[in-house]
Amino acid sequence: MKNKTFREERSGQILVITALVISLLIISTTQYFYQLQAENKANEKIPTEILLAIKVGAFRTVEVSLANITNGGSNTTLEENVNEWIKSLRIRNTYGILVANTSLWNIPPYNSGLLINWSENGYGISSACTNFSFRLLGTKFDVHFDFFANITTTLRVDGYYQIQGGEKNVVLICEVLNEGNPALAKGFEVSYYNGTRWINVEDFSLTDYGNGTYRITFNAIVESKDVNVSVGVIDTRGIYAQANKTLQRSRKT
């Protein structure tokens, strides 16, 4: 009877303590899940966007360098530009400590990150390739990422000629590719060899099929049986590629 009275007297205090424990449990559990969610958000989202921004910059640097080199710039431009971009990135990066390593692709046919082959068989390639390796160390993330920035403009030229009066009517089919995919051209340069020198063709007719394929026609005055042509293209990125081809007479009418 005495025990019962004691229990009855303390039951109110037990109620308060139980309520306190429940409250603490609610608060700590909710805060734990909240923090976990916030950490995951920081871990997943922020570095992805930074990575993309860095990738866009790296590809653009290689692209601009290749445009410069193929338009008469020095072959060292690629290395100089990549170094300058990395320097700017280190200075301006506000997301954490950035460790960057770059290497110009040197495995044949590439040399010092470049492959420029403007051949005689109707195929021309202008390409630059650099390997980038980054480590971004922030307060809530430590990300390691590597990628290759490969920029390639390819030109394929094929064609034939037909005799038209005293002249040779040349028909060329040109295909422009960016990283292996059809791409648009900003402009073409066409010339042919007349036996003594290269003649620049000013008034050629150009048909754009809209899918990276172009048809060029012009008249050439050439004595020889075959006609040597040279086609140069500047793509929309400003990269120049050139291909030479020896054309033969077509019997088609």
């Binding site: 109620l15 306190l20 429940i22 609610i26 922020i46 921004a53 866009v56 601009v64 431009t77």
Partner: protein, 143 residues
């Protein structure tokens, strides 16, 4: 004896009231944690800013606008890409951190008093002469 028992009843009520108060306040506190706080809004704005700049730069538009000093083009693009109720101010710097758009403010109004998110983005020029621009975009929620 009777008076004492009556008082006990009042104490029980106070204790029960106090217990209920504890649990309710705990629930109120946790529910307030689920709402985004100022810090979260700032992260959201930072992400929005980087995404907008990435979208503009990915296809070379941003670099072309800067190369051609087409500040109005940048302003119009930001007005289209950013949602209503977001204030922006964009500044373009060259390699030496000299402001390039000194004569034209790329903004959609007066700076609000709210906290601002500031994003610094590196944009490589499309000119054959190599140039890296620093683009500083400030964003804030209005209202």
């Amino acid at each position: 004896m009777k008076i004492r028992e009556n008082r006990k009843g009042q104490i029980r009520i106070i204790e029960a009231f106090f217990s209920a108060l504890l649990i309710i306040s705990a629930l109120l506190l946790t529910s307030s944690l689920n709402y985004p706080n100022k810090e979260e809004t700032l992260d959201e704005l930072t992400q929005m800013g980087i995404n907008v700049l990435l979208e503009l730069d990915n296809n070379g538009t941003l670099a072309e606008f800067i190369d051609n000093q087409d500040w109005l083009g940048i302003k119009r693009s930001l007005e289209i890409l950013l949602p209503n109720g977001v204030w922006f101010n964009l500044t373009v710097f060259d390699n030496n951190m000299t402001v390039l758009n000194q004569d034209f403010s790329i903004t959609n109004g007066k700076a609000p008093s709210q906290r601002k998110a500031s994003i610094e983005y590196l944009c490589v020029s499309r000119k054959t002469t190599f140039q890296v621009y620093t683009v500083r975009l400030q964003l804030a929620k209005v209202g």
